[in-house]
Structure formats: C-alpha cells, structure tokens
C-alpha cells in the first residue's frame, strides 16, 4: 500500500511535468491546427536562460525565472514570424508547417551544441534536496512547488482566455480563423499572443526541468512525451492536455512499478494506439476534420 501511494505521487508529479509542456503545445495547436514540434527547443532555451541568469548574471531565482519566460515568449514569437508566418500568409498545406517546425527544432538544439557545447549543467540549489515525508510517502520540495506554480499558471491562462477580450478573440479564432477575421478580430495579433503565451509556458517548464533534471541540449526531447499526452487528451483541448498528461504520467508509473519497467514505453504506445482506434478524438478532443 505504501508503495502504491508513493507510485501515485510519482505518477502525478511526472504527469504535471508533462502537463506544463503539453498545454503550451496544445494552445498553439488549437489556433494554428498543426503540431509545433519546435516547442521542445523553446523549453530547452528556457532552461538555459534561467541557468545563465542565475549563474552568470547572479540574479535571484524569481528574477531569473521571469527573465527565462519573457525570453522564451520573445523567442516563440520570433520563430512564428520567421518560420510560420510566410506559410500562413500563403495558406500552405499543413505538411509545410510541420517541416518548418522540424527545421526550427533542429536549429535550436544544434545552435546550443555548436556554441555552448553538449555538456550537462547543474542549476544552483534553490529549494533544497530534502523531501517532505507524509508517513511512508515522500514528496520532493521542488515537485510540490512546481505543482503549485503550474496550477497557478494554468488557472491564470484559463482566466485570461475566458474573461478577457483578447481571450475571447483567441477562442473565436480557434473555432474558425477565417470567420473571426471577418468579424473584425486581428488574427495576426491573436497568433502572436498565442505564441507568446505558449512560449511563456515553455519558459516556465524549462526552468523547472533544468532544476529537476539538469540542463543539456537534448532536454527538449522530453516533449515527445507531452505530444503523446496531448493526443491522449485530445489535440487542441487545454483541459484534455492536462488530463492526458496526468493520465500518461500515472499509467507510465504504474506500468513501471507493477508490470515491467523494461517495456514501459512500449505499453504506453500500445495504449495510445488503442485510444486512437477506439476514440480517435482523444478523451476531450475537438473534431478531427480538416478546417477548410
């Protein structure tokens, strides 16, 4: 029983890591209708921004954190302007967007390898390594803080989308970009704001990743798990992304803990294919039809 409780805590903690990545990715998907595979690269930059702010600029944690997510928001907007906007303007097929995203992702990872180098870097210790014990279950301090901050950010995002004028413009554009433009929504600005928001979430995720798992150029590869999680939950749905992430985290943990750690990812993959066969839109996905 003690092990089961501990495994649930592990699963939730891993799931919340996936969620932080999956939401930014899903948000962009809901507007642009394509998978922004450069998201992992932006997360990696966030980890480096935070790291260098703390070690080179000697900034306190909160300032470094802010610097990181502002930096990634700018980076995400720049990527959109350079790599996607020209495609958007001539309404290129979705394949071109994905290839462009792949190019951006390759560029981001390798520019770090070529300039800063492939070595691992460790964040300075901020919250302490000792964990909090509740009976036989232990919870990492960082995990708890991460959980709280992610929850705050995600709530903030939901409020922004539900309550503000810009949020409603985002919703309208997600529903139908062309119709929204006809109704007077500045869709170009909407896209920019969405990328900035996605970039901010990537920066937050990046800093936490760096603190939790060290910083290195391939750290963005963990995002592949969050793509899978987003499909679980239903592409383009924010609550779906969160739910899918938590589910994937828990499933993976239980598989590793009780079935076989050797085949963990294989079993997760089979479950994914199963979900796609029986429920193609994921748990809470919107329609899979192409928007004409």
């Amino acid at each position: 029983m003690a092990q089961f409780l501990q495994q649930m805590v592990n699963g939730l903690s891993i799931g919340s890591v996936y969620a932080l990545m999956a939401v930014g990715y899903s948000l962009v998907y809901s507007i642009m209708n394509f998978s922004n595979f450069a998201h992992g690269g932006v997360i990696m930059f966030g980890a480096y921004f935070g790291f260098f702010a703390m070690t080179l600029l000697k900034l306190p944690f909160v300032a470094s954190f802010a610097l990181a997510f502002v930096g990634t928001a700018v980076l995400a907007v720049v990527i959109e302007r350079v790599a996607y906007k020209p495609l958007r303007e001539r309404s290129a097929p979705f394949l071109y967007f994905i290839i462009s995203a792949m190019g951006a992702s390759i560029f981001l990872e390798n520019i770090i390898i070529a300039t800063i180098g492939p070595t691992f870097r460790t964040y300075p210790d901020v919250f302490g390594r000792t964990s909090i014990s509740l009976g036989s279950v232990s919870i990492g301090r960082l995990d708890l803080i991460m959980f709280v901050i992610s929850a705050v950010c995600l709530t903030g995002l939901v409020l922004f989308i539900d309550k503000t004028k810009m949020g409603r413009a985002i919703q309208a554009s997600a529903y139908n970009m062309k119709a929204a433009a006809l109704m007077g929504v500045n869709t170009d600005r909407v896209v920019m704001i969405v990328f900035a928001l996605g970039g901010m979430l990537a920066g937050i995720a990046g800093v936490f990743f760096g603190m939790k798992y060290t910083v290195y150029p391939q750290i963005g590869n963990i995002t592949t798990k969050s793509f899978v999680a987003a499909v679980f939950g239903g592409l383009g749905s924010l609550p779906g992304a969160v739910l899918g992430s938590v589910l994937l985290g828990v499933i993976e943990t239980l598989v590793a803990g009780y079935l076989s750690s050797q085949f963990r990812d294989l079993i997760a993959f089979v479950i994914l294919i199963g979900v796609l066969v029986f429920r193609p839109t994921g748990i809470m996905g919107k329609t899979t039809e192409d928007k004409a």
Binding site: G11, P118, T122, T214
Partner: protein, 384 residues
Amino acid sequence: MRIRNIVAAAVVALALASCGGEKQADVIKVGWFGALTGDQAVWGNNEFNTVKMLFEEINAAGGVTVGGKAYTLEAVGYDNKGDAQEAVNVVRRLTSQDKVVAVLGPNASGNAIPIAPILEGAKVPDIATVATNPKVTVLDGKVKPYNFRVCFIDPYQGAVAAGYAFDVLGARRAAVLYDVSDDYSQGLREFFIENFEKKGGAVVADESFKSGDVDFRPQLSKIKAQNPDIIFMPYFFKEVALSANQARELGITQVLMGGDGWPSDQLISMGGAAVEGCYFVNHLDYEDPDVADYKARYLKKYGIETELNGYLVHDAVVLLVDALKRAGEPSGEAIAKALESADVKGITGRIKISPQTHNPEGKDAAIIKIVGGKYIFQQKYAAE
C-alpha cells in the same frame, strides 16, 4: 593539409609497395578515432590529445626503431561522433587513404565491433581503449585476428562488482537499475546478476530505464519496497547523478555501486551528497604512483586534468610501440603478430595479451569509494 596528407600517404604507399619499408620512408602513420563531438566528446578529445602528446615525446626522443631503422610516429585522427556507421567510414578512410599501420581506439564497443571486417580486409590491427564488450575481440568462439584491447571486459567487471559487493561489503540482497537501450549497461547488468547469484546472493529487483529518461522514481520506489542491501547502477555519470538524487529524495539510504561509467568531475558536482559513500569499479587508482607522471605531463601540456580514457590510450600506445619494435617491419600484419605475444608494463597494470582472446589477461580492477567528494582508492580486486 589535405594535399600534404595525400602526398605523405602516397610516399608511404610507394615505399611499402616497392621494397617492404626500406630506406625512403621514415614516418609511421598510426590512426586514431573516437568521438570528438557529441556527448562523448570529453573522452574522445582526451584520448586524441594523449596520443598526440605521447607521439611528440617519442619523436623527440629519437622515434621508434623498427627492423634496425628509426622512424617517427604520426597520428591521424578522425571524429566518428560515437556513431557505428561513421566508425566504419573512418576506418575505411584510415586504412585505404591514409595507409596507417595500426589504429587506436575507439572507446565504445558498439563502434569497435563493426570495424573488424575492414581491419581484416586491410590487415591492420586495432587496439581498443575502453571497449569492454567481449564480442569486440572474440565472435562465435573465434578470436578476431586484428582486434586487440587494453582494458578488462564486462564479464570481469561484473564479476568484480558482484564479488566486492558480496564478499567485502557483505551484501546479500541486491537490486539492479540499468539502461536497457545501452549496450554497456546491459552487459554489466547481465554479468553482475550472474555472478552475484552464483555466490549465493539474491537479486531482489531488476529494473530498467531507457536513454533519454530523466525520471527514475517509479523504478526506485519499486526497488525501495524490496529493501535491498545494495543497488547496482551500471550506467554513465549523468543518469547516475539524477537517479542517485532521486533515490535519496525517496528516502533510499542504501549504498549505490557502479562501474567505469561513473568517474567524472560532473558526477560529484551533480550528484553531490547523494553518491557520498558509494563504490565503483575502475580500471586504475588515480593516486597510483605509476600514473602520477603521465597525469602531470598531461596537465602541464593541456591545462586540464586527464580523464579515465587517457590512461588507457596511454597504455594502448605503450603496447603498440612495444609491438612495433618487435615486428621487424612497419606493416599491419607484422604488428598484429607481435601484439599476440605482447607482455608489457603499462601505467594501468601489466598488459599480457592472450593469443586466444586478444584481451589483457589477469588485469586487476580498482575499487574506488566516494568520500568527501573525492575518489578514494580502496583496494585492487581480482575476480576469480
């Protein structure tokens, strides 16, 4: 540079072709390859720097006398990025374009195995540095004629770790966490379990992860529930540091143990207190008086500390120079023949090549303990 290489290669080739290495040529080309870029770059650069430094020293002291004639040594090195396909490319290039008489490296078994047919075709021997998979030199019970190495092999390292854990540390219940997608990790895991169980110990958990994973808590929680005496972690320092930190976070206080993938400055900076008091099997004792001289020379020339690979490539050079002297002529075939009967004293121990396996026989392993953030030598340990 390229033109000079080609010209030099042509000269060597002409000389070799005309009269079996007579008066004209006085340079012997030796190849090296390994990862100079990518995440193994630290080790590759360390190896190549060591080779270049030793060749300079040898040349300054008058070179190597082969068959009554003095030759200088020239190192030709290529980056294979730690990739098996690239390894095949660069060895083809070394043997057919650069006409080297011998190849040093690589450090990864997965890169050393596929080059065997090319070496055999070109009749050029290779001395691997830290490639510990048995199949590097022996395949299907037959020794590969042109593959040699200076390190001990995985079954031996696994046996040493199991023996030390059982006999010296008194562990009876062991747990294993390993990287299922890494050849080195799988090899050590297999031979550790085999030997630990042979001694009468029980392996109570056998868990794995896959390269690129960063969270090991599900596996560690399962291991914790089995309450082992020791946890064997046969993989590289980055994952060791991450998994050790996570194990301590989960309240696992047991001693951790590993292999030669552990030693690195980064293990201490990333793992810190989590690996304090833990043990690993190594190829040598860093404080051994035999290695002090090389260590100091390397530090003086390059301004940084040498890594584990440097010591082994040092001994690969020692082995090669000895074989060259006894070969009678600077040809790959003659060198390979001389290597089969080599018995030299290197800085990592005595290297007596077995003609049946092409491995150094009876090389002791060193047990290192991490105390106060330092690698403290415990004892030499030989498995039976």
